[in-house]
């Protein structure tokens, strides 16, 4: 080989240049990665090791009108898992199943939730029992991605008593996650699932906190604390309602163990809902964080339908409680006043065309005035009054009284009341010649094609109780919204009230419900029911009649006669007006 020193020196120089050049190239590559692109890689490194563990926020406390708690938060535990992959999650869940009870369905659902946000811990048990937590704590080392943390849990101290309006909370469903109103929500979070909890979700849900845990490459939690500053969860301000929880408890208690139906109690001027109940109720606490299929099945199969809200969803013929609407329409039209007599006296019924229309009292009421007809609930009188008004005007009047509307109460899932808009409705229903004017007779006594919710009837009666303006029912304190329903002068209004006062007197159908010292005005109703379980009993009224502080609408399913409903209503009215927290009547009712 050529080993002359000159040659060697030349090659050595080449070698040095190549060596130094290679090292410089390497160093510049490292400069680019470590200095120029440092931020980008530092972020990647953080993303690798830090996992955000959401800290569930407490929900806003719900208070009644006197600052008593309707819904609060109690300490609970949630169990979630950080998993590096779907398969690993599934395997861990199966292993968890050996310590605690996790069904196959739950595993599948958990895996589905995981896929929405794999870097977030997936909630396995939103509301773990103390037993489950202690079992898991024991086996903690076997489940490296396991996160057990305290999570505020919704609690309703009055349980079943608030089931008609409070709703409950539960984990957000997959369907809800896709809905625009839940934008920003993440799988595993708790949301309101009905009632106030749903209606005021945006005000009740708090701001989730974030805790950072450090995980290793296999997703095992290596450091629980101190990886980065925790952002605490924040509770929203409380929600104040118009509910009077003491009255609410009483309203619930009147139903006993056997009665079923709906009731709404309102302040007539402002529309403040003082109490609302659907009997029988259910325990919303057992729904929080997921209802057991056993309890749910029991409720679902109960023939008394506890899950069906009879105060805002149930629709029933208003029966004689509607006679005040018929009366008001007639008075507005100038067709009748309180002392107007009809052509035919009541003999227990009347012939119209080829049909005999019965009065509820087959003994008959004789020749009565409108005032007496209201007090006695004389059907024959109202048949004739309805005919005088005429179908078109009766329908138009009902529509203007909001008989085809929702009351507008601030609860989800309220049903709209139903009332025909015009005679064309009957053409569509029965065909142009398939019906007769007899529908007018039925309508005028609140039967027929007329279905009202309890809450909508309560709303109508707030107009009767005041100056003709109906107040929108409101559970949460807002600005009262009133709408003029009745265009009657003060004298006419007073006359209607006098007639309704007679109802709850010895002269009327609900005489047994009168209370010493509190004049109650109202109207009973007995709605025919196609089933053989008996008629539905209605009472809608207010008190004190001369200066109303409370409107109560109650419908007792299969309650047979309105007077039974009136007795329940009068207990509510009596309790409310005599209770120390209730507003004291401004004028002393002497008789």
């Amino acid at each position: 080989m050529s080993f002359h020193p000159h040659d060697v020196a030349r090659r050595a120089r080449t070698a040095r240049i190549v060596l130094a050049g290679a090292i410089v190239v390497l160093a510049s590559a490292f400069f680019r990665t470590q200095v120029t692109r440092h931020e980008q890689y530092a972020l990647r490194s953080q993303e690798n090791r830090l996992r955000e563990v959401p800290l569930p926020a407490p929900r806003g406390i719900i208070y009644d009108r006197n600052g008593k708690i309707i819904a609060e938060n109690v300490p609970g535990y949630s169990v979630s898992l950080l998993a590096p992959s779907r398969d690993s999650l599934r395997a861990t869940l199966v292993r968890l199943g050996q310590s605690i009870d996790i069904s196959e369905d739950r595993i599948a659902a958990t895996v589905r939730r995981y896929q929405r946000a794999p870097s977030r811990p997936v909630v396995v048990l939103a509301d773990a029992s103390f037993d489950e937590v202690s079992v898991l704590e024991e086996h903690r080392t076997e489940f490296p991605g396991l996160i057990i943390q305290s999570a505020p849990k919704r609690f309703y101290p009055d349980g079943e008593a608030v089931s008609a309006f409070v709703g409950y909370t539960g984990e957000i469903s997959e369907g809800e996650l896709n809905a625009p109103q839940f934008e920003g929500y993440k799988a595993g979070q708790q949301v309101g699932k009905g009632g106030l909890e749903r209606q005021y979700e945006d005000r009740l849900h708090g701001r989730e906190g974030i805790r950072f845990v450090e995980v290793d490459a296999r997703g095992r939690v290596v450091r629980e604390e101190g990886a980065r500053t925790t952002l605490p969860a924040e509770a929203p301000p409380p929600l104040y309602t118009n509910i009077d929880i003491d009255l609410q408890r009483l309203v619930v208690s009147i139903w006993g163990d056997t009665l079923q139906g709906g009731i709404v109690a309102m302040e007539p001027h402002t529309g403040e809902v003082l109490a609302i109940h659907s009997a029988p109720g259910y325990d919303p606490n057992r729904f929080v964080g997921g209802v057991s299929s056993e309890y749910y099945g029991q409720l679902r199969d109960d023939p008394r339908r506890p899950l069906f809200n009879k105060a805002i969803q149930g629709r029933y013929p208003p029966a004689s409680t509607f006679k005040l609407a018929t009366s008001a329409i007639a008075m507005e039209e100038g067709i009748a006043s309180l002392d107007t007599h009809m052509q035919l006296p009541c003999t227990g019924g009347m012939w119209y065309g080829s049909r005999y229309f019965k009065c509820w009292d087959k003994r008959g009421h004789g020749n009565v005035t409108l005032q007496q007809a209201i007090a006695k609930s004389c059907d024959v009188y109202f048949y004739q009054l309805g005919l005088r008004i005429g179908l078109s005007k009766l329908l138009a009047g009902g529509i203007s009284l909001g008989m085809d509307q929702k009351s507008g109460i601030d609860l989800p899932n309220e049903s709209s009341a139903r009332f025909p808009a015009n005679p064309a409705y009957y053409d569509r229903l029965y065909g142009p010649r398939g019906w007769t004017n007899a529908v007018t007779l039925n309508l005028s006594i609140g039967q027929g094609e007329n279905d009202q919710t309890v809450v909508n009837m309560a709303r109508f009666y707030t107009a009767l109780a005041t100056d003709g303006y109906a107040a929108k029912p409101e559970i949460v304190r807002r600005n009262p919204e009133r709408q003029q329903l009745l265009r009657l002068d003060a004298k006419q209004m007073a006359a209607l009230r006098t007639a309704m006062l007679d109802v709850v007197s010895a002269r009327g159908t609900a005489g047994a419900s009168a209370i010493e010292g509190i004049p109650i005005a109202g109207k009973t109703g007995t709605a025919q029911n196609s089933t053989d379980k008996g008629d539905h009993a209605w009472f809608v009224g207010f008190a004190p009649a001369n200066d109303p502080k409370i409107v109560v609408a109650i419908m007792v399913e299969f309650g047979e006669h309105g007077s039974s409903a009136a007795r329940l209503a009068s207990r509510v009215i009596g309790a409310y007006l005599k209770s120390p927290t209730a507003p004291i009547p401004s004028t002393d009712a002497s008789d």
């Binding site: 080989m1 050595a12 990665t33 490194s45 690798n48 450090e214």
Partner: protein
Amino acid sequence: MLRRTVEDTPLVIVALLLSCFGVAMVYSAGQTDVPSIVARLYRSQLMWLGLAIVVAWVVSRASVRMIEWAAWPAYLLTVALLLLTLVIGSGAGTAASSKSWLTIGGMRIGQPSELAKITVVLMLARVLAARREAPKSLLELWKPALIVAVPWLLIMAQPDLGTGIVFIGIFFAMLFWAGVPWPLLLLVASPAVSLVLSFSTGLWGAWFIILLLLVFHYRPYLVEGVVLVLANVAMGVVAPLLWERLAPYQQRRLLVFLDPQMDPRASGYHVIQSQVAIGSGGWFGNGFTEGTQKRLAFLPEQHTDFIWAVVGEELGFIGVTVALTLFLALFLRAVRVAQRANEPFSSLVAFGLLASWFVHVVQNVGMTLNLMPITGIPLPFFSYGGSFLLACWIGVGLLVRISSEGRGQPGALAI
């Protein structure tokens, strides 16, 4: 009369600094949040370092003549061990399916390929030094080529692609140092270039024109020229077939080299995590033992193949630069030794050892930033592993000896 046993103090100091740096990194590599066996490995690495320095000292006492004499038997022994490894070898770590470890009774004795790196250098130096003139034609290269090809093929059969690359590097570097003209080197390398470029017809066509110009310029014998051109054509044809022959993991490694994001969870994972670790180090690093990529096991093979990423993550660009500077110092010192050696054999041995280290460093360090495809070759003086550290220090011992016998400096102990 007492003589200094170490003549090339700077070389030894640089090697010692690199080794201490390396052991420190092996220690840090063991500092993970989930404790593993790696936590204790630095102790055995320290013991190996002690042993390696002793062996290096012993080697430095042996005269170059004796080493030259021992080249043949050592080479034959190496080939025999490589053959034996193919029969009874076992894999380890990331390359569990390959057979690179010589295992007897379940005990891993060592990797004969480490030994081969030294013996091939010695043997190649012997063959090249025996000639008066540097090889000028392809035909004259058959002997050196055969010397490298035998162990190379045995190692590729394990298969160990990374070590195979080291041998190619050694081969070309030593031919260069022996004075083989660069056009000839290029011609020798041309079939390999064809192999790589054949995946793109356009690139291969361009390369073929360059090759023809080169052949025309260099004017080899007619037969050689024809053989070369045919070899290039053949490579272009067999390349797709060879690709089919590669194991799926080897194919993935090469594809991932082209685009790590192709498969970020599996094949590309290593190199992506390595880049993240290095990039997050910034100027000064996250602090010794504090690298989170390493601590939390995002970084694979953090004590062996990817120990350099730990340097990058924990000591930052400064640490990387210091280490690279130490390596450069070692290389330049080795060039000096090769240049000053008083006869061709020693000079070639020195340069061959340098080439071996250089290929290791460029390959391993480059791999951590995806500048090189991932091959499981370790970083000299850093990566955990006894036989490799030993081999590195044997190299240091040889260099010290060659240095001390170099121009104007009598041997430390002439036998």
